[in-house]
């Protein structure tokens, strides 16, 4: 067990280095000059251009820029944003709670709907319900996020008037200071009547949009994993013993069927964070996704690099943790590899 974990952690290190390199190169391949993007429409004197390039270290050879950057990251320094002059890690820390809150709610939405749908589809295999779940899951999986978001805004907010259009809070009626950065918690701390409800209402649409792809994946995975387990001998034995269908499915089958599903849920962290980039833009959600998009527009290399590194780092870490959990649940794994 211990050796497995050690090997797994050791494997993560080169992944990080590769990630560092790829991010560095990719960011520089984005066309456009950070200084041009910064100074706007007016012409810039060549002397000042040279000075700015020097200040940002852009006049250094590329290999040296990379070494400086790698050295910084090793020491926890993700650079300073060209635009805001704030350390990238500091900006990230302010924005990440918003993304985390959204991703968490989206995941809850996906799991709460996806698991039962998958289980029921498997139990009632071949039924109309099964086909419906599979069709909806396929549609959800292939839905372009931007379009889906706008569609929901049009229907839920504009037509039915059920949910707010965008943002994290009702700005006309409520105002309180961020304490934790999580709107659901801050609204409760604020003691303002109705604030929590308003915060929750603002989370509904973005959570649905962001949770749709994970929901589809979880439903499909649960169904296939469940089908496999339902065919196992011990399930048949349990049935033969005369246990109620609910006990057979709920107690015996589901517990074992969940193992691969947990892995899939872990893998969805990446999807959630990647989806956040678009979802946050549509819903004016002030999280890291939106910040990354703006950083691209401004050619803010340090923010872009740092942001991608931090997000990818989190995804890698979550997957590492999921792998370990997996091993803890299912001891067969550690002998296999």
């Amino acid at each position: 067990m211990f050796r497995f974990i050690l090997r797994r952690v050791a494997l993560t290190l080169p992944t990080f280095v590769a990630l560092m390199f790829v991010t560095f190169v990719a960011v520089r391949l984005v066309p456009g000059d950070p200084i041009e993007a910064r100074t706007g429409e007016r012409g810039i004197a060549p002397e000042r251009l040279a000075l700015l390039r020097h200040e940002l270290g852009l006049d250094q050879p590329v290999w040296k820029q990379f070494l400086d950057y790698a050295n910084g990251i090793v020491h926890g320094d993700f650079g300073v944003s060209i635009v805001t002059k704030t350390p990238v890690i500091q900006e990230f820390a302010v924005l990440f709670p918003a993304t985390l809150e959204l991703a968490f709610c989206a995941l809850i939405f996906a799991v709460v709907l996806g698991l039962p749908a998958g289980v029921l589809a498997a139990v009632k295999r071949g039924s109309v319900f099964d086909h419906a779940v599979m069709t909806v899951a396929l549609a959800g999986y292939s839905m372009p996020i931007f379009w889906w978001g706008l569609l929901l805004i049009m229907f839920m907010s504009e037509y039915l008037g059920l949910t707010p259009v965008s943002g994290r809070m009702d700005l006309i009626n409520y105002y309180f200071e961020p304490v934790t950065g999580f709107m659901l918690i801050d609204s409760l701390l604020s003691d303002q009547e109705g604030a929590f409800g308003a915060a929750l209402a603002h989370l509904v649409l973005p959570s649905i949009v962001l949770g749709t792809i994970p929901l589809a994946v979880i439903a499909r995975m649960t169904r296939s994993s469940m089908l496999e387990v339902l065919g196992e001998d011990y399930v048949r034995t349990a049935r033969a013993k005369g246990l109620s269908p609910l006990r057979v499915v709920g107690l015996h089958a589901l517990r074992n069927a969940l193992i691969p599903v947990i892995t899939v849920i872990g893998l969805q962290t990446g999807t959630l964070l990647a989806g956040a980039v678009l979802t946050e833009t549509i819903f004016a959600w002030p999280g890291v996704g939106k910040w990354l998009i703006e950083s691209i527009a401004r050619r803010d290399y340090p923010a872009l690099q740092g942001g991608i590194m931090l997000i990818s780092g989190i995804v890698i870490l979550v997957n590492l943790i999921v792998d370990m959990l997996y091993v803890a649940i299912n001891p067969r794994i550690r002998h296999g590899g």
Binding site: G40, E41, L171, W291, E294
Partner: protein, 532 residues
Amino acid sequence: MRVITPKVALAAAMLTVLSAPAFAAKTLVYCSEGSPENFTPALNTTGTSFDAARPVYNQLVEFERGSTKVVPSLAESWTVSPDGKELTFKLRKGVKFHSGVNGFTPTRDFNADDVLFSFERQWKPENPYHKVTGGAYDYFNDMSMPDLLKSIDKVDDYTVKFTLTEPNAPMLANLAMDFGTIMSKEYADFLLKKGTPEQFDQIPVGTGPFSFVAYQKDAVIRFKAFPAYWGGPAKVDNLVYAITPDPTARYAKLKKGECHVMIAPNPADIAALKTDPVVNLISQPGLNIGYLSFNTQKPPFDKKEVRQAFNMAIDKAAIIKDVYQGAGQAAINPIPPTIWSYNTTIKDYPFDPEKAKAMLAAAGVKTPLDIDLWWMPVQRPYNPNAKRIAEMMQSDLAKIGVNAKLVSYEWGEYRKRLQQGEHMTGQLGWTGDNGDPDNFFFLLGCAAARPGGQNLSKWCNKEFDDLINKAKTISDVAERTKLYEQAQVIVKEEAPWFTIAHSVVYEPTRKEVVDYKVSPLGRHEFYGVDLK
């Protein structure tokens, strides 16, 4: 960037009480498009950042809301010396600064020291704030202030004298621009002593109608009405900027009442906005021009006749109809008709492909002629779809035997190459900053024709250049108008540009918004606006 201090919490608590239904505080919400870089206009070049700082600040002189007319603000009156080189401002007395959310409380009223500080920060490298927050003062430098200013002197506490190296008529309008914003010297000193000068640009303290409460990047900026404002308190209690980058979401929010005023609607939504029962769609011709520049340093565009022929070969009316879809008018002169000195007697070239063909032949141009035609990769207020325009021009030009190859680059690269004069023909445009004609005419002046300069036609006509340079030094508007009218005659005859259009600016507001005015300068201003 999030700013939290005990003072903010207190202000928040007070706001909470105020926003309780019993008091029915009025909160005006503006759906803006992006986050400001900071709150010091002198450091910025984007409309987004200027709009965010404007509620907090004043300038010596200002543009009247909804127009380009320069009116007194922190300066009550001014005099210009007979030689035009000295501007003396009499400052308004009893003007209060806000208290900062970071513990700053002003001990004195606004005076000449604040004016000196605000300009010296941009001008003098020895000013302790010169290098703070990047320290790039693009507008101050672009407006040639370092060359124009000889000195700024405090005559007494309420009199400031600007001495110029040469007379400059647009100076007053320039000072009304955002880089002319007056900040508090006392606040600057306070933060310097505290060792946090960078807060100066993040937690703004000004004399304006609204004071700053809090800013959460990419989410919201909050202001509240400043009760002691010298012009009288604002009509709403709170002003909130809801930062909403997507135009479709902005429109949806406006419809639902989550915001009252929105910036930049999607052109595709204009038709729906016009018939929307909750929306007032205000529109106004924008202070802008979109044009196609001919590089006069590259043959055959060095010949006037060729440029004229091109002017006749392109169907401008079709472009206005198809691309601007009613949100623009055909441009005849290099300045929009909303600006003073516009020459109404000038006639545009007729659309006449046959004559264009004949003129090309007479100029000795052999067809088929291969040229390149550059189009901008982005949408701008003055040009909603440069690619589509380029395609329409391409098909018109094909009819007179000209093969136009369409070329484009990434936006920054595009502008750089155009300014270097690498193109044969290329689209660009301009939005006015201050309502002075010089702010448009300099685009065709000889100084800007240098490689890297903003004169994309690289056209240097001595007669024209003399006229605009002379006009700049005269302060009499009638006399300047005459010179500019003459200059427009020359531009039309010499045709360094194919002038495309002046676009119309749309500002959707909700019906309960009272007295919102569209700014021809593209500003968004909320002092004086009320909610029913």
